[in-house]
């Protein structure tokens, strides 16, 4: 196994172990998402959502819940000296980017396993859209994790990181949001999932993922310099 793959495994394992032990991010993200669905349920006064409204409610909720996790992604590295420990090691620093993005994908998948069934229970008349919806969310999670990791690594050194992260991240994920809601809209239409332009939106999500993974890989080493 190469040094970078070993480091990737070590950092990812360390993050997941620490999160399982302290539960600092996941419960907050899941609770935020479920609470938001409750507010939409009563705010919109509807028991069923369809099309673009359903897609918008689901995506906006997941996006804002994700920001809670993104904000905390590098806190241990910043406050406990992990950045220095990793910078002293003879490894490619992009292993840190890859491991943090992978940890973020794991967090997003974990909360989606809880909150998407809650969304279906509150707003959908059947579970038929869920399998293709999982594919859309998986692609959107990768893009959100890559962009979030990049922004979080920059914002963590700022005292205003809680403010800075959403301010910088949200404009950057506009293309991802358009593609994700575009793909979700026909899936969540009442009367069964449709697949109008589904392939185009999936390709757009894949392209976004690729661009931000490559950008992260290219610039992360530079971002870790003093």
């Amino acid at each position: 196994m190469t040094a970078s793959r070993l480091a990737f495994g070590a950092i990812l394992g360390k993050d997941l172990r620490a999160e399982l032990r302290t539960l600092q991010s996941l419960p907050a993200m899941a609770l935020f998402a479920v609470t938001t669905f409750v507010i939409f349920r009563f705010g919109l006064d509807r028991t069923q959502l369809s099309g673009s409204l359903a897609a918008g409610v689901l995506w906006a909720t997941l996006l804002f819940a994700a920001i809670l996790g993104v904000n905390r992604l590098f806190v241990a590295e910043r406050e406990e000296g992990g950045f220095d420990a990793i910078r002293l090691a003879p490894i490619d620093r992009s292993a840190l980017f890859a491991a943090k993005a992978a940890a973020m994908v794991v967090y997003l998948v974990a909360i989606e396993l809880v909150v998407v069934p809650v969304f279906a229970l509150f707003f959908l008349d059947s579970a038929a859209p869920l399998p293709p919806l999982a594919l859309v969310l998986a692609l959107a999670d990768v893009g959100l994790a890559a962009t979030g990791t990049l922004i979080s690594s920059m914002a963590v050194n700022s005292r205003a990181r809680d403010l800075l992260t959403p301010l910088v991240l949200l404009p950057l994920v506009v293309p991802l949001s358009i593609a994700a809601t575009g793909a979700l809209e026909p899936l969540l239409t009442v009367g069964g999932p449709g697949y109008h332009r589904f392939g185009t939106w999936l390709a757009t999500l894949g392209l976004y993922d690729l661009v931000f993974l490559l950008v992260g890989y290219a610039v992360f080493d530079f971002l870790l310099e003093d």
Partner: protein, 235 residues
């Protein structure tokens, strides 16, 4: 003997403030250096530059044959840094932290486990190695930080106040890990010259403006003058 550290006119600024100015230094492999100076003299900045964590602002810097910052990757992994922060994750145990560090440095798992147990025994932490860092005293964290620093058997040790928070027993226990000898090069920042100078080969004293006030063989530096230098009386 080859040079482990070579500095020519090293400079480093933080905004308007100059932390180091015109620092020249040569330290041969296997030698031990003591860095003295008052608070704010740039001692920690000097160690962080040597550790490749800070970029030099000017001058020439060579560490273990690597020109910094361009060839920093050649030196990483051959340096052990013990700074003010222990560089340990609070929510992991001592053993978990050391395993994490071992994997970052590419140590195989069997060799790493053996080395970790040896180090924990050495610093008297064998029985507390599974406690979370957050539950340990400052002295115990320092002992673990020293284990982390030497885990990968670095050629160059950069030690910033290594005795901080250690009791007398702890100081004696860690001495065999970070003390002189073993062919390792050491650069030690301290405010306790009486204790550090007898083990050192060379000494430099930085003044409050980050300039070298004195550079000499450790034996040539009067401990009383060295004590005055750490208190800021370098004139």
């Amino acid at each position: 003997m080859s040079e482990a550290i070579e500095l020519r006119g090293l400079r480093r600024d933080f905004g308007e403030r100059t932390a180091l100015e015109g620092v020249d230094l040569s330290l041969a492999s296997g030698e031990s250096l003591v860095v003295l100076g008052p608070n704010g003299a740039g001692k920690t900045t000097l160690l962080r530059i040597l550790a490749t964590l800070l970029r030099p602002g000017g001058g020439e810097v060579r560490v273990l044959g690597a020109r910094l910052p361009a060839e920093a990757w050649k030196a990483r992994g051959r340096i052990g840094l013990l700074g003010h922060d222990p560089l340990l994750y609070r929510d992991l145990s001592g053993r978990e932290n050391l395993r994490f560090q071992a994997r970052l440095h590419g140590l195989g798992s069997d060799a790493a486990e053996e080395r970790i147990e040896e180090l924990l025994r050495c610093v008297g932490m064998g029985r507390r190695g599974d406690d979370r860092i957050a539950e340990l005293s400052a002295g115990m964290r320092q002992r673990l930080a020293i284990c982390r620093c030497v885990l990968h058997e670095p050629e160059l040790l950069l030690l910033d106040e290594p005795d901080s928070n250690l009791d007398a027993e702890g100081r004696e226990l860690v001495r065999q890990l970070i003390g002189p000898g073993g062919g390792r090069t050491r650069a030690l920042v301290t405010h306790d010259p009486e204790r550090a100078l007898p083990d050192a080969d060379r000494a430099i004293v930085l003044d409050a403006k980050g300039r070298v006030a004195r550079s000499c063989a450790a034996g040539d530096l009067d401990p009383a003058l060295a004590r005055a230098a750490t208190a800021g009386v370098t004139a």
